[in-house]
């Protein structure tokens, strides 16, 4: 009798145990269920952009499920990098989670500022059973997470560049007829090669109506190098070749820069003071027809309360010369090596990039990093630019992630700005840039 009873009890326990395990596999990492890290406060630093605001909006959910409190510090781009860098270099240990552009990955990893996250990913206590790495968009994962075969972080905002155009103007039949009469052919909507792009830009440049063919983010600023690199890749160029030597003055790049400078005639007068922000404003005011622009402000240009062209916009791939191009600009969530609470920080990052939260963020109009978010019907309906975003993400050209890049890109901006100002020819500035790159890289 007694043994039978104990057997039943034992079976009961085993069943409970199995069910318990099963339950854990189904839902959340044990650390969340047990609230292991309850009472911890994480400090998270990120750029002041809509995606960060959206994360902050959903933070109470994380705080409720984990018991971990997250304090978010938001600053404009330059200040994020200054504060992050100071914290990492001085070892003040203020921040537990960083949101940083992916090109700093190599620099941070080589300097030993950040730590690989694999050991947390493999910890059954922390790992989210539903994580599914293959669901992260492949290009993003490669650029934002992996450095020398180690995983250092998870991708955040999937910023990427593509072609913005005024669909209503380009599709207008009268305009198309007039264009055919003038140029002898019909353009595709949107233009697929650079010859068409320039003709369309010229055709729609009507200063008397305050309408311009293109907007260039041509201020001496990060926006300038970001934009031009699309042309560079499309024309078949690169910054650094496969063996690590700079090739910035290649014939392809010279041609791409010549072409870029030639577009200046069709841009609004203020274009040399534009960054990505002013390009968006110019669209919102209905002043420009086309631009190669980032995806994250697209939500603002499609918002009728902020924009005169909401519903009239189209989004497509960057025109192609030799190869498709799309400048990838995502950010990455990192955990500093000296973080006081790396496990809790990992739980936070895992939560932000989880399928569930990414879909929620996408429904807010943000740019998610998972295939599954783009497949969500509600997300697809939410914004006209998601198909173009996903298509561009599949291409994803990315800038070098070497430690020297911050200096290199700053010099690139100077060179491009000089060419745009007409002080020097594209050939001259790129030759100068090549010399600078050789010097910076110590070749």
């Amino acid at each position: 009798m007694r043994s039978k009873k104990s057997k039943i009890i034992m079976v009961g326990f085993v069943m409970l145990f199995v069910m318990g395990c099963f339950d854990a596999v189904q839902a959340e990492p044990p650390a969340l269920v047990d609230k292991t890290y309850k009472g911890i406060t994480l400090r998270f630093i990120a750029e002041t952009v809509p995606p960060t605001e959206a994360i902050v909006k959903f933070l109470p959910e994380f705080e409720k499920s984990s018991g971990i409190k997250v304090v978010t510090e938001q600053y404009p781009f330059d200040h994020v990098m200054e504060k992050t860098m100071m914290d990492l270099a001085a070892g003040t240990r203020i921040y537990d989670v960083l949101s940083t552009p992916y090109q700093f990955l190599g620099q941070f990893a080589e300097m030993g500022y950040i730590q690989p996250v694999e050991k947390y990913m493999n910890d059954p206590n922390l790992r989210d059973p539903n994580m599914d790495i293959t669901d992260y968009i492949e290009g993003m994962w490669k650029a934002s997470a992996e450095w020398k075969e180690k995983i250092y972080g998870f991708p955040s905002n999937s910023c990427i560049m593509f072609l913005w155009y005024r669909r209503d103007l380009l599709e207008n039949l009268a305009e198309r007829r007039a264009f055919k009469e003038k140029y002898g052919y019909c353009y595709s909507i949107p233009p697929t090669n650079w010859i068409e792009y320039k003709d369309v830009a010229e055709f729609f440049t009507r200063p008397e109506q305050e309408l311009y063919g293109v907007a260039l983010a041509a201020k001496r600023h990060d926006a300038l190098s970001c934009e031009w690199m699309n042309y560079m890749w499309s024309f078949g160029g690169e910054v650094i070749d496969k063996s690590g030597n700079p090739v910035i003055n290649s014939p392809e790049n010279v041609e791409a820069l010549k072409y870029f400078v030639s577009l200046l005639k069709y841009a609004p007068p203020g274009t040399t003071t534009y960054t990505w922000d002013e390009v968006t404003t110019a669209f919102q005011k209905g002043r420009v027809v086309m631009a190669i622009q980032w995806n994250d402000p697209a939500i603002d240009v499609e918002d009728p309360t902020k924009s005169e062209v909401a519903g009239k916009m189209g989004f497509g791939p960057v025109p192609v010369k030799k190869q498709p191009a799309a400048h990838f600009g995502a950010w990455t969530f990192f955990i500093p090596k000296l973080s006081k609470h790396p496990e809790a920080a990992y739980l936070f990052i895992q939560w932000v990039t989880s399928k569930e939260i990414q879909i929620k963020l996408a429904r807010e109009g943000m740019v998610p990093c998972r295939y599954s978010s783009y497949a969500d019907p509600e997300v697809r309906e939410r914004a006209s630019f998601y198909p173009a975003t996903l298509a561009a993400l599949e291409i994803s050209n990315y800038r070098p992630r070497i430690p020297e890049w911050t200096e290199m890109v700053s010099k690139m901006q100077l060179a491009l700005s000089q060419a745009l100002a007409g002080e020097k020819t594209p050939r001259e500035v790129l030759d100068w840039l090549q010399d600078e790159y050789l010097r910076i890289l110590g070749k």
């Binding site: 200054e82 860098m85 990492l88 270099a89 620099q107 080589e110 300097m111 305050e210 201020k219 001496r220 600023h221 609004p268 007068p269 203020g270 274009t271 040399t272 003071t273 110019a282 005011k285 002043r287 430690p403 020297e404 911050t406 200096e407 700053s410 100077l414 700005s417 000089q418 745009l420 100002a421 002080e423």
Partner: protein, 286 residues
Amino acid sequence: MVFFHLPTMITLVIIAMVPFLFALNLSFRAYSLAIPGYKGQFIGLDNFRKLLNEDLLFWKSIFITIRFVVVVVVIEFILGLGIAMLLNQNIWGRRFFTSIIIIPMMIAPVVVGLIWRFLLSAEFGIISYVIKKLGMHLERGLLGSVHTALPTVMFIDVWQWTSFMTLILLAGLRALPREPVEAAQIDGANGIQIFRYITIPLVKPLIFVAVLLRSIDSFKLFDTIFILTGGGPSFATELGSIYAYRVNFIYWNMGYGSALVLILFLIVLVCTEFFFFFTQREAPQK
């Protein structure tokens, strides 16, 4: 006595000497927050050698800075002196105008930058609009063209800081004794002669102070230009201070950056010494 000076000396050592020596030490080292291998090893004068021999951009930025300082200080001095002379007359509403005139000086430089950026915006700015209505054609806007960007930031600096000159010179003019002027009048001197031989020599010490302070201030101008142009377009408005910022906080090359800042400091020091020499040589003539 030494005991009473102690707090001041300690404060000075902490806020001035320690950072200075730290920067000096750093300038002899290869130290970067971004590049692995630049771990602070001693490299002697290598940073200085590179700066002075190889860094063409550095020299370019120094020349732009000198141009900026000379133009801005000369214009501010002439305008400031003129306005101070005007306000020194017993005209109606003198106090009111004095208050009005110092308003630009009281606005934070970053705000000045933001206000002017909006005013000068090529598409939406009121100034660009007026220029267009006047029939002048500006292809790229005042801040967007390499030819007009530097004069424009100079103008903004003059707009903001002329009143500083005015204030100092006005204080000097108001403190002048009446007697020499009256004596000269009795001797039959005309207005220009009184100005040239009585007023100017008497306010000279204050002129030196005002010019010196403005020169140092405009030499290290950063915030307004950073907001307005960020050093662009091309290299047109890249003052030494902007270039120093770029090297230190964008390239994160802090050893090299410290050397750069020290050279800027040396230039200011030499200029100041030159000024002092100048005043001291003039003094006995009075």
